[in-house]
Amino acid sequence: MELVERLTPSMRRVARMFVSTDAVADEAVQEAWLGVLQGIDRFEGRSSLRTWIFRILVNTAKTRGQREARSVPFATLAGDDLDEPTWDPTAFDAGGHWSSLPFDWRGLPEERLTGHETLVVIGRAIETLPPMQAEVIRMRDVLGWSSDEVRNALELSDTNQRVLLHRARAKVRAAVEKHLRSVSA
């Protein structure tokens, strides 16, 4: 039951990407867990158990999404900004070197950096990301999964996993910078 409690919140969010309502997402999660129980004998340990559980979930949720005739373009989930530069191009000169440096918040006290307020800012920043970017950064940086585990669990290419993660981190870092600049002014 501990594993169920630990994985279910991410599973609900991942399922919700592919189906139209929270209720259907919950059904997909239940169905996936039953599939896990029924198929556990076939788990061969070639991936981690949690990755294997997510693959069952993603398949279940996609099947349900298709049944609902709901097809979500990858760009909607991943964000349509993946080909754009991560950083504001006006920060650089023509040669690609810094022309104006961002606010330097390295010297701020630890309690300001890791205080409740900053963590709330980070949580909100993640919530506003395109769903696949949000899920990749949660799995990697909140839950501490490896890049291979996340790539396999969410059926992403290695490149996409890396682009989504970097994009998500850059936006979260920017939100932190904006917050710390405003409270330090």
Partner: protein
């Protein structure tokens, strides 16, 4: 050298650099750039701090109602 990494490009490589997922020559190029560039070193440190702070977030909890629904589904299955 003409193949030196400029700041604009280095910023795209930070997550792969931190994952140790860059080809050896690119990894070395990133290190060489960081050794002489305060701006990029600052941003790299800020990424590291951001990742550490993100790791302090807690994952959503399963609500009691969701837990009961799942348990009921398991009971039905095991009969």
């Amino acid at each position: 050298m003409s193949n030196d990494i400029v700041c604009r490009d280095l910023l795209e490589l930070i997550s792969r650099y931190l994952d140790d997922a860059l080809p050896g020559d690119v990894h070395a190029g990133v290190e060489a750039h960081l050794a002489v560039c305060d701006g990029c070193s600052m941003v790299l440190e800020e990424f590291r701090t951001t990742i550490r702070m993100t790791g302090m977030l807690t994952e959503d909890q399963v609500t009691p109602a969701q837990r009961d629904t799942l348990l009921a589904a398991f009971r039905d299955w095991t009969g």
